[in-house]
Symmetry: C2
Subunit: 424 residues, 2 copies
């Protein structure tokens, strides 16, 4: 792995300098090759599924492992979206004259060599490889072992198509054994960024076992706050969607905060409705005292990420307490206010310190596709570099180009010449 | 320290929501207060200087410790520049309709709680505190112990002025004992970013002893490459400036690469000139064989950061070998080509993977002030978040604000509604 990433680092500048047309051609070729080779991919997937059956994996897991015509169509639609997006590289976001003959430009460039470790989902391999190619990054890809047959089939199709389009051989490399993860984490001289996807404990393991920068998120403790001014017609659909639309997702709401000023009759109706929808409700003593169908909190209190149809509830004294609770107990992922009061909403939007702060919209919208990024490599709850859903832009950095005419600093420090800053 | 940073994290959203006017008032008040209290600051500095004399510190160090009228004027000019810059917060860099009643905005916000550890230079305390205030960040400031008296005097003046302008008490906190550095590194629950400045070994120590993200740079191995097409009139002044203008700086050139096609007579002249300027020249066997006044390389070969008037030299076969050498042996800081050939220059600018890539300009220009950023908290050789000189912008991140009307993801995933992306 050291050897591979070392070579990858050496060719990364070549990948960075590849033309947009070459990268677009690669994406188009990948799209065609996936369709041309779908039978062999589906048959590889059948092997993975039968192994999953032998192991007695749950239906939910098997649903994710499955790669069929419908999923192929979805990923091809994703590739089309990516092709339609402008080149993320070479964008000039600063052009400043420092003096009459000295010009500074800042242009976007790829990060370089990425290591992406992702869950057993064949579509993830295709999305991630496409994002890396469009953004001019080289990448080591390691998918979950439950889809190893499908991964191998998909990778060879993608890799061959990328090479035929003119990209360098080591633009992508598939790591296929679990032991290679630790090897990858040790390649700090060649790998610029690790992006782990998976369980909290897995992401934490990665963060603790490498000195390479890691972009990812550990917890997804998202909140929905119902203000006294909330429109009752919006409340129940929003809360149900935020909790139930896909409970295993990091952007599902885990805690519902309710303003004490929200009418009791509406609260009663909400509690019944959530309970009837199959949600297990948990709360502090005040909540369990109010409703028989609310259970006590778990040991984790209000910092529990259930990832199941379970919801923590708490009454708060208005938006101030809601914001304090969220900033203290949340994971700075995505939090929503349901409100019709502009001042209260504005306070919430300004003071909540999260990657996503929503007004009257389900926390489930926190997603690269829904943000119009085409796809995402993951969601970041870190504050540095990329925050929230990470698409093409999060896979780029920049470099400063300075064009001079023999300019020396000595002339400026002695006062012989003066800087003359001017935006160009 | 845990307690302080915990409280700081709690008030960080308040600091983030402070108006630009309040932060500007604070900077104006700091500028006045520094002038009003200059006598007590200068007298504190005299104590530091006499302790430095007792310890027999070098003149170069004492020059940095000194805080006098001239240095006060310089930092006040820096504060004026910072005041003149626009508010770095609340800038919308993305505004997209996801649907007719669902709008996504991305706005700049402060990072939150910073820990800045810097060398013994009284002006650094003022620059860093000003940058943190203007960018709405809370900060723990720890300066070098050699200027502890001056630091204490300056901090109390700055802090009082900031509070009088209406900023929260814990917007800034001064750590004054060395033991507090390790305490700070353990505050991973409250501190968002550590910015260490100082020697390579110190920065490495910080990186290895915290799980908080660190922004900094370890090595500054900068190159200047002389192409065969270089204008000889530019060569000697550029190389001398890049090496000698301030040898202790990370952006000083450490290695000079010379195209084998560069005329021998001009190379002879260059070597003599550099030698006469007091630069110790080192090189591989080819170079030492060519010139008597070129010594062998040290054990570190071409990866040595001398920080002294010493320069490594190497002949290369044109721009390709120069770029390969830089990407392999450099530290991705700042590298320059001296050339009059557009194609060769373009190749260099594209293929060199460094934070700064320069054409006909001294590597010494890599500096926040010279880039027009007003000031810098440091220079980053990392590729994530901020690269190169880090000013106000590098101290901000962003959050996504989503404004809806009760929108739920279920409607979009079932096909009842479709996304309708539109840049606004």
């Amino acid at each position: 792995m050291q050897n591979i990433t070392h070579q990858m680092k050496a060719i990364a500048p070549q990948m960075a300098a590849s033309s947009h047309q070459t990268r677009q051609n690669a994406l188009t070729a990948i799209r065609s090759a996936l369709n041309d080779n779908k039978d062999s991919i589906f048959s590889a997937n059948t092997k993975d599924l039968s192994r999953a059956n032998e192991k007695g994996l749950s239906d939910a897991v098997k649903k994710r492992l499955l790669f069929n015509e419908a999923k192929l169509n979805d990923v091809c639609a994703g590739i089309d979206q990516l092709i339609a997006l402008p080149d993320p590289l070479g964008k000039t976001d600063l052009c400043r004259g420092l003096d009459s003959d000295l010009t500074l430009k800042r242009i976007s460039v790829p990060i370089g060599v990425l290591g992406v470790i992702f869950e057993a989902r064949p579509d993830a391999m295709i999305q991630i490889a496409s994002l890396c190619i469009k953004s001019g990054n080289c990448a080591i890809l390691k998918g979950g072992s439950e889809t190893m047959e499908t991964n191998a089939a998909i990778f060879s199709v993608i890799h061959e198509a990328a090479l035929n389009a003119g990209l360098p051989e080591l633009c992508l490399f598939q790591a296929d054994s679990h032991g290679q993860i630790d090897e990858l984490l040790a390649c700090d001289a060649s790998v610029d960024l690790i992006i782990p996807r998976g369980s909290n404990s897995f992401v934490k393991y990665i963060m603790e076992h490498t000195s390479i920068p890691v972009m990812g998120h550990s917890d997804g403790i998202c909140h929905t706050y119902i203000d006294a001014s909330a429109d009752p017609k919006k409340v129940i659909p929003l809360v149900k969607d935020a909790k139930l639309q896909y409970t295993a997702a990091c952007n599902a709401t885990e805690t519902l905060l309710i303003d004490r000023g929200y009418p009791k009759a509406l609260l009663d109706e909400l509690i019944s409705s959530l309970s009837e929808a199959g949600i297990t409700l948990r709360g502090d003593e005040e909540m369990t005292g109010l409703y028989d169908n609310i259970l006590p909190l778990t040991d984790k209190g209000y910092t529990c990420e259930y990832l199941e149809p379970v919801l923590s509830l708490k009454l708060v004294d208005g938006v101030n307490e809601a914001v304090d609770h969220i900033n203290r107990h949340g994971s700075h992922h995505t939090d929503c206010i349901i409100s019709e009061d502009e001042g209260v909403t504005d306070y919430f939007m300004r003071y909540v310190d999260s990657a996503g702060v929503y007004h009257n919209a389900s926390t489930r919208f926190a997603d690269g596709f829904r943000y119009g990024f085409g796809a995402e490599v993951g969601i970041s709850t870190g504050k540095l570099h990329a925050r929230g859903p990470v698409g093409l832009e999060g896979l780029t950095t920049y470099k400063y180009l300075l064009y001079g005419n023999g300019n020396i600093v000595g002339d400026y420090s002695t006062g012989k010449r003066q800087f003359n800053f001017k935006e160009l």
